[in-house]
C-alpha cells in the first residue's frame, strides 16, 4: 500500500447532517480511500463522477421528448435508436441501451425494474426512492392500473397498459403524449411539461394549466 497519498481528507468529511454515521458510511469512505491509495483511481475521478451524475437531470430527457413532439422524423429516429438520436442534440446516454416507448391514445406505457433498480439514469438522473421500493417493484407488473391510481393517474379501460421490466442491459424511457392545448408552444416551453414521472410512465405530462 502506498503511504504517500496527498489527497486532502477534509474533502471527505461527512456532512453535519450525516451524523451519526453508520458502518456503511464508514465502509464507503474506507473503500474510496483504499482504491485511491492503491492507485486504482484518483480522488479527482471520484469527484468528477459525482459531478457527472449530479448533472444528469430529468431536464435532459425532457429536452429529448419535447423535440419528439415537434419533429416527427426525430421521433422516428428516437424510437429506432435512442442513443443515436440523443447524440444529435448533444446528449450522451452512455453504454447501456435505452429504448424509447411512445404513449398513444390507445397505449399507456409504464416502466419498472422488478429485480433491482435499472433506470435510464443518463437521461433523467438517479431513480426516486419509490422506484426502488418493494411495493412498486412487486405490484407494478401485477396490478399496474392500481399502482398508477396511487400516483393519481387514471387510465381508462379502453387504453391498454403495457409494463416494461428493465434489465441491466436495456432500460426504457417513456415518451409521454403531448398534452392538448399546446399547439403553438415551442420546444423550450413544451419541455417544462415533461416531468421525470411522466418519462417513467406513472403520470402523464403536465397539462398547460399546471404551469
Amino acid at each position: 500500500m502506498s503511504h504517500d497519498h496527498t489527497h486532502d481528507h477534509t474533502d471527505y468529511q461527512p456532512d453535519i447532517e450525516d451524523f451519526p454515521f453508520t458502518d456503511r458510511m464508514v465502509m464507503t469512505q474506507a473503500i474510496a480511500e483504499l482504491i485511491v491509495e492503491k492507485g486504482i483511481c484518483t480522488a479527482d475521478e471520484l469527484r468528477q463522477q459525482i459531478e457527472l451524475m449530479d448533472s444528469k437531470e430529468p431536464a435532459l430527457g425532457a429536452r429529448l421528448v419535447a423535440k419528439t413532439w415537434v419533429d416527427p422524423e426525430f421521433k422516428s429516429r428516437v424510437l429506432e435508436d435512442c442513443a443515436k438520436a440523443a447524440a444529435e442534440i448533444g446528449i450522451d446516454i452512455g453504454d447501456i441501451p435505452i429504448k424509447a416507448i411512445e404513449n398513444t391514445e390507445d397505449v399507456h406505457n409504464v416502466v419498472v425494474c422488478t429485480l433491482c433498480s435499472c433506470y435510464p439514469r443518463m437521461l433523467i438522473g438517479l431513480p426516486p426512492d419509490w422506484y426502488k421500493s418493494r411495493a412498486y417493484r412487486s405490484r407494478a407488473v401485477k396490478e399496474p392500473r392500481k399502482v398508477l391510481e396511487e400516483f393519481g393517474t387514471h387510465i381508462p379501460d379502453n387504453v391498454e397498459v403495457r409494463v416494461h421490466d428493465s434489465t441491466a442491459d436495456l432500460r426504457y424511457l417513456v415518451l409521454p403524449a403531448r398534452p392538448d392545448g399546446t399547439a403553438d408552444w415551442d420546444e423550450r416551453k413544451l419541455a417544462q411539461l415533461i416531468t421525470r414521472d411522466s418519462m417513467v410512465g406513472v403520470t402523464p405530462a403536465k397539462s398547460p394549466d399546471d404551469t
Partner: protein
C-alpha cells in the same frame, strides 16, 4: 416448482407505494461513483451483473435491513475482497482509521 429468490419480487403482493423521496446524501453519491469508476472499460473491476449478484447474495434479512446504497457498498466491498483487490486486513484497518478520524472531527465540531 421454481424457488423464487428474495430479490425477485415482480408480481408479489405488497402494500401501497410510498411516494415520499429523499435527496441523495453525499455518501450515497460516493457509493454510486465508486461503483461506476470501478466498472469503467479500462478497469472492469466490477460489472453491473456482479454487483447485482453480490446484492442478491446478501440474503433476505440483510437485504431488507439495509438501505439501497448500503446494499451497493456491501456488495461492492465483498466483490473487491473476493477478487483480492483489497484484503480483509486492509479494510478493517482503514475502517477503524476512518471511524477514529470522524469521531475526532465530530468532537472538534462540537
Amino acid at each position: 416448482m421454481t424457488i423464487r429468490r428474495h430479490h425477485d419480487m415482480g408480481g408479489l403482493d405488497a402494500g401501497p407505494v410510498d411516494r415520499s423521496e429523499h435527496d441523495y446524501a453525499m455518501w450515497e453519491k460516493r457509493v454510486d461513483a465508486i461503483v461506476k469508476v470501478l466498472s469503467t472499460p479500462d478497469r472492469k473491476l466490477l460489472s453491473t451483473d456482479e454487483l447485482r449478484r453480490g446484492i442478491e447474495e446478501l440474503g433476505p434479512g440483510v437485504y431488507d435491513e439495509l438501505s439501497y446504497y448500503e446494499r451497493w457498498i456491501s456488495s461492492a466491498t465483498n466483490l473487491l475482497l473476493e477478487k483480492g483487490v483489497i484484503t480483509v486486513d486492509e479494510l478493517g484497518k482503514k475502517m477503524a482509521e476512518v471511524e477514529a478520524r470522524w469521531i475526532k472531527d465530530r468532537e472538534t465540531a462540537e
